[in-house]
Amino acid sequence: MRGIFCGTTARTNEEYKEQVKRKMKYMLIMTVIGLITLAVGCYAHLFLDTGIPDRMLGFYTGVGSGLAIAGAILFFRLRMTLRSEEKLKESRLSATDERLTAISDKAMRTATFIMLFGLYAVMLIGGLFIHEIIFILCGIVTLFVVSYFVAYRIYCKKM
């Protein structure tokens, strides 16, 4: 998800180092969010009178541990990158390369189209069985469209 999480305009290793350090902080935050999710799931399972269904417990523990482990692994990978000038340069070139950015933009456009198509299909079929799904998915699509137009307006003024 280069376009969303890995965008950078760093021209030198020094500038990129600062961005990698910032990314390391985000990875720590991601790990903490994962641990909190895990803790909430375990707490609800063990201490809430009503408890939570096994499926939801699986969701909380799965997402929580996934986020925590991924965050920790990425944190250590970034730390290794930071310690080696060669790896730092390689990572910077890969993050700023204009061809890779163009590829990412195209992939993002394709993924967005497929996601919207998928959402519509789920809304059409799922709505027959669970009525609330129509409102939830309509809300998500509206949020997407509104944020697109707001971002478009902002970038129109900037460029």
Partner: protein, 69 residues
């Protein structure tokens, strides 16, 4: 858009890696440029022209018909 990057690079005995390093892109981008699979941005075109010490027009040939203009 056609370009003479490969010709210039070979004439000056520069490797793809060296050129990629000099203009701050990956080697794969140089390969794609040479194969004509990717068109360079104005900034990259300028960097490449500067590296070889020539003008942009000497490297890149803009074909109006090919670009449907």
């Amino acid at each position: 858009m056609q370009n003479k990057i490969q010709d210039l690079r070979k004439a000056r005995k520069v490797t793809q890696n060296e050129l990629a390093d000099a203009v701050s892109v990956t080697r794969q981008t140089i390969i794609s440029l040479e194969n004509g699979k990717y068109n360079a941005s104005l900034i990259l075109a300028h960097k490449i022209a500067q590296f070889f010490g020539v003008t942009i027009e000497e490297i890149f040939t803009f074909d109006l018909e090919e670009e449907n203009l």
